[in-house]
Symmetry: C2
Subunit: 559 residues, 2 copies
C-alpha cells in the first residue's frame, strides 16, 4: 500500500497498482484498466506492480524506483532484532501471554498451533483459514484453558490494550464478546461516546457461532467475563447464529449472574427482556442499554425477579418435565411457540414454527407440545373450541394421565360468541385432572391465559375466580401466562455444564498485556504505541513456501 | 353441542358425541373410544350421534330422547319469522349494511357473493373457503367499495358492536386491523384492561396477508381507519406476512398521518420505530404502546420528525434514485442491509440477506447495492479496506459516474490498526466525485458513518471536519447514517396508489350497525343482545346439497 502510494506520487505517474496476483485482484486491476498481459499470468504468490504513466519514460523511471522504495520499507520494518521463530520470541519476551497472527490464511493455522503449544492465547487476524482447522484449534485451546480469537478476528481489547483494529475507549464495567469485528468496534465506540467504559472486549471470529464451531470461544469468553470482577455488564454481539448455537449461548447467558445485552443482529426476538437477558435490535441500542444497565448496577435495581408466588410453587415429581399447550386461539398458540423458543429448544405442534417440529399426529403430543385446537382439522363439522369445550376437556384428561407432563397451558377466550360460561365446564375438569395426578404423586400445574374484559357477558372476575378455585394459575394476558410456563419448565431443564472446558485463568485479562506478533508489522507498531511490550517474529513461509516440505515439517512437530 | 351436553346429562349415560362425520371427527371419536363401525362409515355430511352408557337400556333411552332434544333446539331457533333468501332478508331490514356468513366453507363463497351483489359488507366467519374464491371475492369487493372480512374471520368490532367472537371493550381512539382473530381479541382486551378504548376493530381473515390475496382487506381497512376521525392511533396485527406483502403494508402505513403500531408476530424488525410506525414484539406490548400513543396524541408530541438539516438537503436530478454502499466493515454492511429493508424492498449485495439478492458480480453494482469490501474475495493478497482506501476510492469514482446513483454510503472506521488518516485520502476523493456529478447537473450525496472515539489516534473531530468540508454528511453512528439514507431514498420512491380500489365509505363504520346473519344462530343472538338489529336467514344448502345442481344455479345467477 505504501509502495503504491509512493509510486502514484512520482512525476508523470497516473495510476499504480501493487497487489498479490490473485484472481480477485486481477479482476480489480481489470476494472481500473491496469491489467496487462504479464499481470494476467502472475501466480497468486507473485507480487504484481503496475504503473500507468503519461509516457514511457515516466513509466520506466517509476519502475526503476521500485527497488529503492521496497528497500526503504524493509529497513523500516527490520530496524530492530527480530527472532526467527516463535520459540525464540517467547524466550525473548517471557511475559508475552498473547500471540497475534496475521500471516496468510493457509499458514496461519500452523502458527496458531505453535502458539497454543507454547501456552499462548491466540489473536488470529488471518482469514481464509479452513473451517476444520478452526474447529481443531479451538477444541485444543479450550481443553488447555486458552483462547483462540478468530480466525478472521479483527479486533479485541484486553486489559486496556487494543489488538488488531481497535478504538481507544474509556475503561469501565462493560465487557464485550463479539463474533463481528466492526460490530464490536461500533458498540465499543458508541459506549464511549455515551460516557460508558469497557472492561475487556473479546472477539471470537465470525464463524465461531456456526454449527461446526459451536461458539467455543464465545462460551469461553462469557464464562471468563462472568468471573471477571471488573465486568458488571456483558454484551454479546453477532450476526444471526445457527439456532442450536443460539440456544447454547442463551443457556450460557442464563447462568451468568450479571445483566447481558444480546444483539443477534436481525435474529427475531419477540420479547425485549428475559430476566437479566436484554435483546437489542441494533448496535446503537446495544450500546445504549449497556451503558444504562452499567449505571443501574450500582443501585442494585432488579425489577423482574420472579414473583414470590412463583417461587412458592410446588415441586414436580421426578420424570415430570413436559409442557402441553391446548389452545383455542391460533394466534395465542403461535405467540406461545414464539415466546417459548427462549426457554425450550423444541416445542412440537400441529401448527409449528418450523416444519421439522410438526407433530406426527395432532391427536398425540410429543415431549413439549402445543396444540391449536382451532385449526381447520379440528373444526370441520364441529363447533370452534371457543364455543365448545368438549374436545379440550377430553385432551386435558388425556394429557393429565401422562406421567411426563408437568404443566398444561390453555387460553380461555371470553366475549360475545364464546362459550357463555367456560369455567362451569373447565373448572371441574381441571380440578379432576389435578386430583387424578395428585393421587399418583404428581403435581399437575394448569396455567390459564384469560382473554377478556370486565364488561364481557361472562363476568371475567367470576370466571377467573372459579378457575383459580379449581387449582389453576390464572393470568389475564397470554404473554404473562406463557413466560410463567417457560420459567417454570426451564427450571426443570438441568443441562450439565460442558465438561470439555478448562476455564481460562482470569490472569489472562488482568496481567499487563504483552504479545508476540507474527505478520502485519502495523500490529506491532500499534501495541508499542499503546505501551505494551511486543516482539515481532521475522516470519517466512515454512520451507520457503514449498507446501509439501512444510507439511512434512508440521507432521514432525506433532510427534 | 347442546344436544351432546343434554345427552351426557341423561341417567346412565357415560359419554356422548355429536359431530359431523368428517375424517377428523372420526379420529377424535376414536381417541375417546366412541368410534363404532357405523360411525366409521358415516359421510362428512352425516350427523353422527353416539352414546356410551352404563347398560343397553340407558343407551336406548338416551337415543330415544334425541328427536325430542333436537325438536326443542329447532323450535328455539325458529321462534320468529325467518326469510328464506338474502334478498328477502335485505328487504326485511333495509338498514342492514353488513352480512355475517358462517355456513360451511364450500357454500360460504356463494353466500358472500350474493351479499356483495346486494351491496353489503361481508363478515365471513366460515373457514375452508378455497383461496381462489377468497381472491375473487376480495377483488370484487374492493372494486365496489365493500369490505370482505375473512374467510376464517373470527372477530370484529364495528361502531361498538362485536361481530363473531368479540370482547366488550371501552370505546376510544384506537383502531385495530388484524389478520388474526385471537390476536385482535387479546390486543383489544389488553387495551381495555389498561384503560384505553377502541374505535373500530376490523378483522381480515388469516390469509389476507398471503402473497395471493396481497392484503386487499388490510389495505382497505388501513385506508378506512386512516380517514376515520374517531381513530387517532392504528394497530396492525398479523402473523408474519409474505415479505412482498409486508412491504406493501409498510408503504401503506407510511402514507398514514397517524401513529401506527405494527405487530408482525415473530417477524424480525431491528428498529423499534420508523417515524410514526412502531414495531412491537408481543401482543401485550402492542396494546401498551397503542394506549400510550393514544394518550400522547392529545398533546401533539412528535419527537422524531425529520431534522431540519434533512429537509434542507438539495434535490436530485431526475433519474437519480439509487443507493450504493461501500463498506469496509462487514457487520456495518449487514446492519445497513437489515435496516434498509424497511425503506427499500430490494438491496443487492455481495453479502446479501437473501440469496436472490446476490450481485451477479461484486465488481458491478445493480440498482440499490451495498458492497462489503472487507469480504474475503477482496482481501486475499491485499490489505483490508480499513487500512487501504485504494479500492474504495476507485469504486467511489465508478459509482459517482453512474447517472442513476443518488447517494453513496460509507463507513469510516478509526482506531488502532486502521488507516492513520483516512480523511486525507477520502476527503479529496469525495470532493472530486461530488464535483464531477455536479458538473453534469447531478447532486451526489455522500453519507458517512464514522466509527471511533475522541481518544482514537486519528483525532476523530479533525477527521470528521475534513470529511464534512469535502461535502460529505458525516454521522457518528451507523444506525443514524443508514436511517438517513433510507429516508432520503424513500422520498424518491413515488409508488402510484392502487388504482383498483374504490374507497370504502366512512358511513360503513359510522351508521348504527344492522346485519343479516346466515349460519350460526348464536351470532344473531349476540347482535340482539348488543341491541343491533339483525335478521336471521333460514338458510339451507342450495339445491338441497346437490352440488351439480347448485353449480348450475350459481352460473345462472352470474349472467
Amino acid at each position: 500500500m505504501q509502495l503504491q502510494r509512493a509510486l502514484t506520487g512520482l512525476p508523470g505517474v497516473l495510476d499504480a497498482g501493487v497487489v498479490m496476483g490473485t484472481q480477485a485482484n486481477k479482476k480489480i486491476l481489470e476494472q481500473s484498466g491496469l491489467l496487462t498481459h504479464e499481470a494476467l499470468e502472475a501466480a497468486a504468490d507473485d507480487l504484481v506492480i503496475l504503473v500507468r504513466a503519461s509516457d514511457a519514460a515516466a513509466c520506466e523511471a517509476a519502475l526503476a524506483q521500485v527497488d529503492v522504495l521496497l528497500l526503504q520499507r524493509r529497513s523500516a520494518a527490520e530496524q530492530d532484532y527480530q527472532p526467527k521463530s516463535l520459540e525464540s520470541a517467547a524466550q525473548a519476551l517471557p511475559s508475552a501471554r498473547w500471540l497475534l497472527v496475521s500471516v496468510p490464511g493457509r499458514y496461519a493455522g500452523a502458527v496458531a498451533r505453535d502458539g497454543l503449544r507454547l501456552g499462548k492465547h491466540v489473536f488470529l487476524y488471518s482469514d481464509n483459514v479452513p473451517m476444520a482447522e478452526e474447529v481443531e484449534l479451538k477444541q485444543a485451546a479450550a481443553q488447555g484453558g486458552l483462547l483462540v480469537m478468530g480466525p478472521d478476528c479483527g479486533t479485541a481489547i484486553v486489559n486496556g490494550i487494543g489488538l488488531g483494529f481497535a478504538n481507544v475507549v474509556r475503561r469501565g464495567p462493560i465487557g464485550l464478546v463479539a463474533a463481528s469485528g466492526t460490530g464490536l468496534q461500533e458498540v465499543a465506540s458508541r459506549i464511549h461516546q455515551l460516557g460508558g467504559g469497557i472492561s475487556h472486549a473479546l472477539g471470537t471470529g465470525g464463524r465461531d457461532l456456526s454449527e461446526a464451531v459451536h461458539a467455543v470461544t464465545a462460551r469461553q469468553s462469557l464464562d471468563l467475563l462472568g468471573r471477571d470482577p471488573q465486568t458488571r455488564v456483558i454484551v454479546l454481539v453477532s450476526k444471526p447464529p445457527a439456532p442450536a448455537v443460539a440456544d447454547t449461548l442463551l443457556h450460557a447467558a442464563r447462568q451468568l449472574n450479571k445483566p447481558i445485552v444480546v444483539d443477534f443482529i436481525g435474529y427475531p426476538r419477540a420479547v425485549r427482556r428475559l430476566d437479566h437477558i436484554y435483546f437489542a435490535g441494533t448496535l446503537d441500542e446495544t450500546a445504549e442499554w449497556a451503558v444504562r444497565l452499567a449505571a443501574d448496577q450500582g443501585h442494585g435495581s432488579s425489577d423482574q425477579s420472579p414473583a414470590e408466588s412463583e417461587t412458592a410453587a410446588g415441586s414436580f415429581a421426578s420424570g415430570q418435565r413436559y409442557l402441553r399447550g391446548l389452545f383455542s386461539g391460533g394466534t395465542l398458540a403461535y405467540e406461545a411457540l414464539l415466546l417459548l423458543q427462549d426457554y425450550l429448544p423444541v416445542v412440537y405442534s400441529n401448527a409449528p414454527l418450523r416444519k421439522e417440529h410438526r407433530l406426527a399426529s395432532s391427536m398425540v403430543s410429543q415431549a413439549h407440545s402445543i396444540i391449536d385446537l382451532g385449526e381447520d382439522e379440528f373444526t370441520v363439522g364441529r363447533l370452534h373450541p371457543m364455543m365448545d369445550n368438549d374436545l379440550r376437556i377430553r385432551r386435558l384428561q388425556q394429557e393429565a394421565q401422562d406421567p411426563e407432563v408437568a404443566l398444561i397451558l390453555m387460553d380461555v377466550v371470553l366475549g360475545f360468541g364464546a362459550h357463555p360460561e367456560p369455567a362451569s365446564e373447565l373448572a371441574p375438569a381441571i380440578a379432576t385432572a389435578r386430583a387424578g395426578a395428585e393421587s399418583e404423586g404428581r403435581l399437575l400445574e394448569v396455567v390459564l391465559a384469560v382473554v377478556g374484559t370486565d364488561q364481557d357477558p361472562q363476568n371475567m372476575a367470576n370466571q377467573m375466580g372459579r378457575l383459580e378455585a379449581a387449582g389453576a394459575r390464572v393470568m389475564n394476558s397470554n404473554l404473562t401466562a406463557v413466560l410463567y410456563a417457560g420459567r417454570r419448565l426451564q427450571a426443570l431443564d438441568r443441562i450439565t455444564p460442558d465438561a470439555n472446558f478448562r476455564p481460562v485463568e482470569l490472569s489472562a485479562l488482568h496481567q499487563p498485556l504483552a504479545a508476540i506478533n507474527v505478520g502485519l508489522t502495523s500490529f506491532s507498531e500499534s501495541l508499542e504505541s499503546q505501551g505494551a511490550p511486543v516482539v515481532q517474529v521475522d516470519w517466512h513461509p515454512p520451507a520457503g513456501g514449498n507446501e509439501r516440505l512444510a507439511a512434512i515439517l508440521e507432521r514432525m512437530k506433532r510427534k
